[in-house]
């Protein structure tokens, strides 16, 4: 017979469930990152780390040499993001809309093929596109030649005016699978009854997409936008593997990620400056945090989630 217990026992299982994730995440991610943010408040003066408050941020935004690089990177980064929003997500939605039509055959094949670039490493993606777009190797020029458009060819990756857009498009090529998958799933989860009701009302084909499906997948599009935002403002690898840490030509493809990397770890003869690098990293964090907050408090609340 149980003895009567007056107080509920401590629910040990809650800390037990949380502990592994909490400990690993805190120890290996949070503490090092806090260390990085802390670094941004210090400066190396004669080999000593000295607390300088916000001086590094002042340099970054105030000193014309730093500020010029910073704003260049930020503007490029914004353009990089805009290209993704304008190209990647609409293509993703289009592909998903096509894939979700009922009677289509070979769905799995298309889905898998289009997702393949997403699983490739940046090393492969960078190398492949550099080769294809290379004026020397001649894949792109000879393909354009074949359709009589050779004159359109330009060494896109080497021209300041095209390089960033080209890279953004490569990145779109690589990642279009993610919005496609998520939107596809969202479309599949629209109940058939709603679509059947639309058919009965004579809303079919493209107008069905605009009038019925699109409003219902808006929350998913919102999520994708914010994932794209976070991803783009953390972008680094693709640009690094195609254009190197100096993000050429003439910094035309420099984004916050490459700027931070170069500053933090140094490059070639340029010595690493972890303090300034951390300052850039902290600003990146703030930018992403602001973007996410705008989304969470400004946009998401207005996107209605429909109960099916």
């Amino acid at each position: 017979m149980q003895k009567p217990i007056s107080k509920p026992p401590i629910r040990w299982h809650i800390p037990v469930f949380l502990a592994p994730a909490f400990i690993i995440y805190t120890a290996i991610m949070v503490i090092p990152l806090l260390g990085t943010i802390q670094l941004s408040l210090f400066s190396d003066i004669d080999g000593e780390q000295v607390f300088v408050g916000l001086a590094n941020f002042k340099t970054l935004l105030g000193d014309p040499r730093w500020a010029q690089q910073f704003w260049n990177a930020l503007v490029n980064n914004t353009w990089f993001f805009i290209v993704h929003m304008l190209v990647q997500n609409p293509i993703g939605i289009l592909l998903a809309a096509l894939l979700s039509s009922n009677k289509l055959r070979m769905k799995a094949f298309y889905r898998t093929s289009i997702f393949i670039p997403t699983i490739l490493s940046f090393v492969i993606v960078g190398f492949a596109w550099k080769l294809i777009l290379s004026p020397i190797w001649g894949v792109a020029p000879s393909m354009l030649d074949a359709v009589g458009l050779k004159s359109l060819f330009a060494p896109w990756l080497g021209k300041e005016e095209y390089a960033l857009t080209t890279l953004a498009l490569i990145s779109v090529w690589q990642f279009v699978g993610i919005p496609m998958m998520l939107i596809y799933a969202a479309m599949l989860s629209i109940p058939d009854e709603i679509l059947e009701a639309a058919e009965c009302d004579g809303i079919t084909g493209i107008s069905q997409f605009w009038k019925v499906k699109l409003p219902l997948i808006l929350p998913s599009i919102g999520i994708i936008s914010i994932l794209t935002f976070v991803g783009n403002f953390n972008a680094f690898d693709l640009i690094y593997s195609v254009q190197g840490a100096l993000a050429g030509p003439n910094f035309a493809t420099d984004v916050l990620g490459t700027f931070m990397f170069r500053t933090f770890f140094g490059f070639q003869l340029q010595l690493g400056d972890p303090n300034m690098g951390s300052a850039i990293a902290s600003i990146m964090f703030v930018i992403i945090l602001i973007g996410v907050s705008i989304y969470l408090f400004g946009i998401q609340t207005r996107l209605r989630r429909y109960q099916f």
Binding site: M1, Q2, P4, I5, S6, P8, P9
Partner: protein, 333 residues
């Protein structure tokens, strides 16, 4: 079989108090039903009894033992859920025996009990199937079987019939009733459906806003509701409430009259109204009449009757069967 006693049970979620001091005794072998509108706290109370929710204060005794703080499985209860909650990866037999296996009971005992329950619920043919291969009614029977096998001191039912269609609901209701008789088990049953409550319960507990409005046998509640809430909640179609002023009665704020206690009688008319809708149920007929300030009034007549929509009718109320309520909604005797 055991008794249940609740003493001053309170429960708050954050600053919101959802159970506001409940005292209740359930005798051995009794089937007690909690009814109330959604959000009244009836499910929370059931879950507190089960130990799935921790009470903020108060004492729970099952079979004379205080069980506060004990885990659900130690309380000697079993529970049947609205969504069946069968383990999708286990067969019917394993679903029923899991609790006993967990308690390390001997194999032959488990088998005996499962066989007993499956025979009782005619589940013998389905013992090796998985839940996904069963119909809704079969699944609910498995859930009930799982409860029986544990031979609990106390059965708890959480709206067990809500997910079934109308015909099955009646059948299963009968099954539960016969189960109660056969096992003479103590049962606590939660529903929002007063018909279910009336047909099944030994005693009904009407809950509203986290407090007990009234406890009693179905007929006690029907005949002697303590207040307007209980009067309105028990009985179908619902009791008509009429402002006392319309009937020129000064000793009450509101009067209540059940639809079956109204007759057509032009000579002794208490009110006149216009027929707005008729429901022909075959066995009886419900007529709804718009009586101006007195509101929409439902009249229940036995047998089949005809009436023209928009025709004017005179209503007579059986004065002996009228209820009077004061400003606070309490019944005036």
């Amino acid at each position: 079989m055991g008794s249940l006693s609740l003493k001053n049970i309170r429960k708050s979620f954050g600053n919101v108090e959802v159970i506001k001091g409940i005292d209740l005794d359930v005798k051995e072998g009794e089937l007690v039903i909690f009814v109330g509108p959604s959000g009244c706290g009836k499910s929370t109370l059931l879950r507190i009894i089960a130990g799935l929710e921790t009470e903020t204060s108060g004492t729970i005794e099952i079979d004379g033992n205080t069980v506060n703080g004990q885990s659900p499985s130690m309380r000697g209860i079993s529970m049947v859920f609205q969504t069946y909650a069968l383990y999708p990866h286990l067969t019917v037999r394993d679903n029923m025996s899991l609790g006993l296996k967990q308690a390390k009971r001997p194999k032959d005992l488990i088998k005996k009990r499962v066989d007993f329950a499956s025979a009782m619920l005619s589940l013998d043919d389905y013992l090796e199937r998985r839940p996904a291969e069963l119909s809704g009614g079969q699944r609910q029977r498995v859930a009930i079987g799982r409860a029986i096998v544990r031979q609990p001191k106390l059965f708890l039912f959480d709206e067990p019939l809500s997910n079934l269609d109308a015909a099955l609901r009646v059948n299963t209701r009968l099954e539960i009733a016969s189960l109660h008789r056969q096992l003479s088990a103590t049962m606590v049953y939660v529903t929002h459906d007063q018909t279910e409550a009336m047909t099944l319960a030994d005693r009904i507990v009407v809950l509203n806003n986290g407090v007990i409005e009234q406890v009693g046998t179905p007929m006690e509640l029907y005949n002697k509701p303590k207040n307007k809430f209980v009067a309105g909640f028990i009985g179908s179609p619902q009791m008509n409430f009429i402002p006392a002023s319309c009937l020129e009665m000064s000793d009450a704020e509101t009067v209540g009259i059940r639809p079956e206690n109204i007759t057509f009688d032009g000579a002794k008319a208490d009110l006149t109204g216009k027929v707005s809708h008729i429901e022909q149920l075959g066995g009886d007929t419900n007529i709804y009449a718009d009586c101006g300030e007195a509101g929409l009034i439902c009249i229940r007549l036995f047998g089949q009757h005809e009436a023209e929509v928009d025709s004017t009718i005179s209503l007579h109320f059986d004065r002996d069967k009228m209820f009077k309520f004061d400003k606070d909604g309490n019944t005036i005797n």
